[in-house]
């Protein structure tokens, strides 16, 4: 059982480190992990869950705002982008945040194609992050179930 735990822990370390290396996560994610303890063991998962719900809502808003048959209200799109930028920043979702920065610029430039492209990319990106984090949380669960402790992995 110790061998299994050690193997899982190594897998976990590598996987988490790769998320930082590939730019999915940044420093702020590490900060969130500091806030998790035995009293609040699911804090990070809970916050990320709220974040992903936020993504769905805000991306929906952006899509609707861009889907106007008349003139697009880019400030309306920009308002949702600003909100998504804020929440992605707060959870350490680095790639999503980066896309929001670009998206904001396209909004300010009233660049319709640019906005639509960003919207598509953000949709792909948050879903990819969601899957990656799901895998990470599953590894944590397996480690705990095997009787081990989840190692601390900072970027």
């Amino acid at each position: 059982m110790d061998a299994l735990v050690a193997q899982l822990q190594m897998q976990y370390r590598n996987y988490t480190a790769s998320l930082y290396q590939q730019g999915f996560l940044d420093d702020q994610f590490t900060e969130l992990k500091k806030l998790q303890d035995d009293a609040s063991p699911d804090f990070v998962a809970e916050v990320l869950s709220l974040f992903f719900e936020d993504c769905v809502k805000l991306i929906g808003n952006m899509a609707r705002a861009l889907d106007q048959t008349g003139t697009v209200d880019f400030s309306q799109v920009g308002a949702s982008v600003h909100q998504l930028k804020g929440s992605s920043s707060s959870v350490g979702a680095k790639r999503v945040k980066g896309l929001c920065v670009t998206f904001k610029e396209y909004c300010e430039a009233n660049n319709y194609e640019g906005c639509v492209r960003c919207l598509q990319q953000i949709d792909i990106e948050y879903k990819a992050l969601k899957t990656k984090l799901q895998d990470m949380f599953n590894l944590e669960k397996q480690i705990v179930q095997a009787g081990g402790k989840v190692p601390q992995v900072d970027n």
């Binding site: 916050v47 709220l50 909100q83 804020g86 707060s90």
Partner: protein
């Protein structure tokens, strides 16, 4: 007359000066559900009681400043610190800050502004209006710890100042206080001397006037 009695008689309801229990009650205001969750946890982990609301309007309602109830129900609230996001729909954090500083009951409550944007004129504007501090988002544990220490230290200073002054008449204390009169900002212009106890907290006012002189 006991020291405690003198202090409690003259302090507005927002300031119970028994700093024996360092647990602060913080009112956190943010329109983002993600940020509310994070700031709540940051504060709880820093041993604070937390109430979160999603708008400036709700914050005013909670404090009883929305005109409906006036200042009733105050005694149970005892908010020691307000932390608010700057950019919110409706009442911005800045608007909320102004309303709080205009209130004779709540103006002594420290207000900290949070923003994802590092805009110097914005920061200066908030500090001029009486904000205690300005935090750049995303907020980290170290930021919250620093703020908490600042607030607890200020409250302790205020306590010390009053225990020294209890031997003198409060009127003399106002004259003797070392801090310069606050420069003309909206918060000080509304602090006409009907609320003389405001002058009994020279440390927080002094910091604000020092800050203002730097701007």
């Amino acid at each position: 007359m006991a020291v405690g009695e003198v202090m409690r008689m003259d302090i507005p309801a927002g300031g119970d000066l028994t700093v024996t229990s360092p647990e602060l009650h913080v009112l956190a205001v943010d329109d983002s559900i993600v940020d509310r969750k994070v700031i709540e946890r940051l504060l709880r982990i820093s041993a604070c009681k937390v109430t979160t609301v999603e708008s400036g309007a709700m914050a005013l309602q909670y404090l009883g400043l929305d005109g409906d109830k006036g200042a009733s129900g105050l005694k149970d609230l005892k908010v020691n610190l307000i932390v608010t996001d700057y950019s919110m729909p409706g009442l911005t954090g800045y608007d909320l800050l102004k309303k709080i500083k205009e209130s004779s009951v709540f103006r002594e409550i420290p207000v900290v502004i949070m923003s994802s944007e590092n805009i110097l004129p914005r920061i200066e504007q908030c500090l001029r209006e009486g904000a205690e501090d300005f935090l750049l988002k995303p907020v980290k544990l170290a930021d919250v710890k620093r703020i908490k220490e600042l607030i607890v230290r200020n409250e302790a200073d205020d306590c010390k100042t009053l225990s020294h002054s209890n031997k003198r008449k409060l009127a003399e204390d106002i004259d003797d206080t070392a801090s310069p009169p606050p420069p003309s900002s909206s918060s000080s212009s509304s602090s006409s001397s009907d609320d003389s106890s405001v002058e009994d907290f020279p440390s927080s006012k002094r910091m604000k006037s020092e800050l203002s002189s730097l701007l």
